[in-house]
């Protein structure tokens, strides 16, 4: 018969960690997406040549392992005496990390809107802003959504790395429990299940939106 020393309070401890994972992910994906949209539009508008400095900066965030970024950023904020708590540092780094990927997703989405369609919109008297808002944004969103969902799920799992800054998010919480209860397999299964339960609705919601939009194309 299966037995465990894990109590209800231990589960609540894990869920609290999951809450922190969601918070870090939520803040980072929200901020990173806003920045990604701004950077993506800038990249398309000024062309690849003028965007080289921006592209280079974002490439750094895409190329350096997230763990190194977190540790370096934490050290930097200490040296610069920003006085950021680990949560802030984590969110800043993860936001930029998300923004770097999101910029490419947004750029790809905008590029997927045919130039002729945008030309038709402008020929009707729509301004650049109106064209972006009523034509480009909805069409680019459709194209970008699957990649963006993938990015969000990736960031949620990558956010486990913030445990290195001392944040008790889901993975760290489960490690603490493992140390105490010595039941690694069971606790990791529970931990994995919680990650799954957080990711699954996001993935399904993305699928739902895709299905809802598809008959229009």
């Amino acid at each position: 018969m299966f037995q465990t020393a894990m109590t209800f309070n231990d589960l609540m401890f894990l869920l609290k960690g999951a809450g922190l994972t969601l918070a870090v992910t939520g803040v980072s994906v929200a901020a990173g997406t806003v920045m990604g949209i701004v950077f993506g539009v800038i990249r398309v508008q000024i062309g690849p040549w003028w965007a080289i400095p921006l592209t280079f900066l974002l490439d750094i965030f895409r190329s350096v392992p997230l763990l190194i970024q977190l540790v370096l950023a934490n050290a930097f904020q200490a040296i610069a005496q920003f006085g950021w708590p680990p949560f802030t540092t984590s969110c800043v780094v993860l936001s930029l990390y998300t923004a770097a990927y999101c910029t490419e997703i947004v750029r790809g989405g905008i590029d997927a809107v045919p130039v002729t369609t945008r030309r038709a919109a402008r020929s009707l008297g729509l301004s650049w802003v109106q064209d972006m808002r009523y034509i480009v944004a909805p069409l680019a969103t459709r194209v970008s959504l699957p990649a963006w969902i993938g990015l969000t799920l990736g960031v949620m799992k990558d956010s486990a790395l913030v445990l290195w800054l001392g944040l008790n998010e889901l993975l760290k919480s489960s490690q603490i429990l493992i140390t105490r209860l010595q039941e690694p397999l069971f606790i990791l299964i529970v931990c994995g299940l919680i990650y799954f339960l957080m990711s699954f609705p996001i993935a399904r919601f993305g699928g739902y939106l895709e299905r809802r939009w598809s008959p229009h194309d």
């Binding site: 301004s127 909805p138 008959p215």
Partner: protein, 240 residues
């Protein structure tokens, strides 16, 4: 009135318009014919300011299109253009495609814009497709929707850029009939077309473009019956 004065335009080293002069009076239908690469489509996109020009000028009701002070978004409300590609907005229903510009650009209230859109869509024979998405329409229907969309802005001028070139042969007729109807209603139109019988039937004047130059312009009877220019003769005998 559309006045085109000595317009020149290059794409890189290639000069596509080599000094075009053309005046189109209100109510007039001018068709432009010519081989591909003769600059006829480029001229249309210059007329409503979608393309810059290198020299010369284009005036619409006295307003210089490419002047720095000209508000192009305002000017374009008065100059509709329909392209070879249908350019439907795929995320909007047929009705919303047509209503978008009147509502957002002119600020027309929803009910009024809808009434106008229904009127224009009925006009082009799409009254039964209002709530359908463009993806479900045939090419001819999409092109007629594009015409209704341009007309909903109530432009004084309409430009048609090879609007039947991307259509299956059996769908060409329905779109040309729509253009004929507009011409008969007195719309001022410039049509770039490869449909010679259409050009002959509806035009007040026909212009023949050859390598960026307007080689010849005249009445349809003269152009098709007794072309003066050697290139016009060559072109017409090749398309017949």
């Amino acid at each position: 009135m559309i006045e085109i004065e000595n317009v020149r335009k290059s794409f890189g080293a290639l000069e596509v318009l080599k000094g075009i002069d053309l005046t189109v009076a209100n109510g007039e239908v001018v068709t432009i014919i010519g081989g591909s690469g003769s600059g006829k489509s480029t001229l249309l996109t210059c007329i409503n300011g979608l393309e810059p020009i290198d020299s010369g000028r284009i005036l619409i009701d006295g307003t210089e299109v490419h002047a720095r002070a000209t508000n192009l978004n305002k000017l374009r409300q008065n100059v509709g253009i329909v392209f070879q590609q249908f350019n439907a907005f795929p995320h909007l229903t047929v009705l919303d495609n047509v209503m978008l510009a009147p509502r957002k650009v002119k600020g027309v209230p929803r009910a009024e814009a809808e009434a106008m859109a229904v009127k224009q869509l009925t006009h082009v024979g799409l009254a039964d497709k209002l709530r359908v998405y463009p993806g479900r329409l045939s090419g001819g229907q999409q092109q007629r929707m594009a015409i209704a969309r341009a007309l909903a802005m109530e432009p004084a001028y309409m430009l048609f850029d090879e609007v039947t070139s991307a259509l299956d042969p059996q769908l060409v007729g329905e779109v040309l009939d729509t253009l004929k109807m507009l011409a008969e209603e007195g719309m001022t139109m410039i049509c770039v077309t490869h449909e010679m019988s259409f050009a002959r039937d509806v035009s007040d004047r026909v212009a023949f473009f050859h390598q960026g130059v307007m080689a010849e312009i005249g009445s349809p009877d003269q152009i098709f019956g007794a072309p003066q220019n050697g290139e016009t003769q060559k072109f017409l005998s090749s398309v017949r």
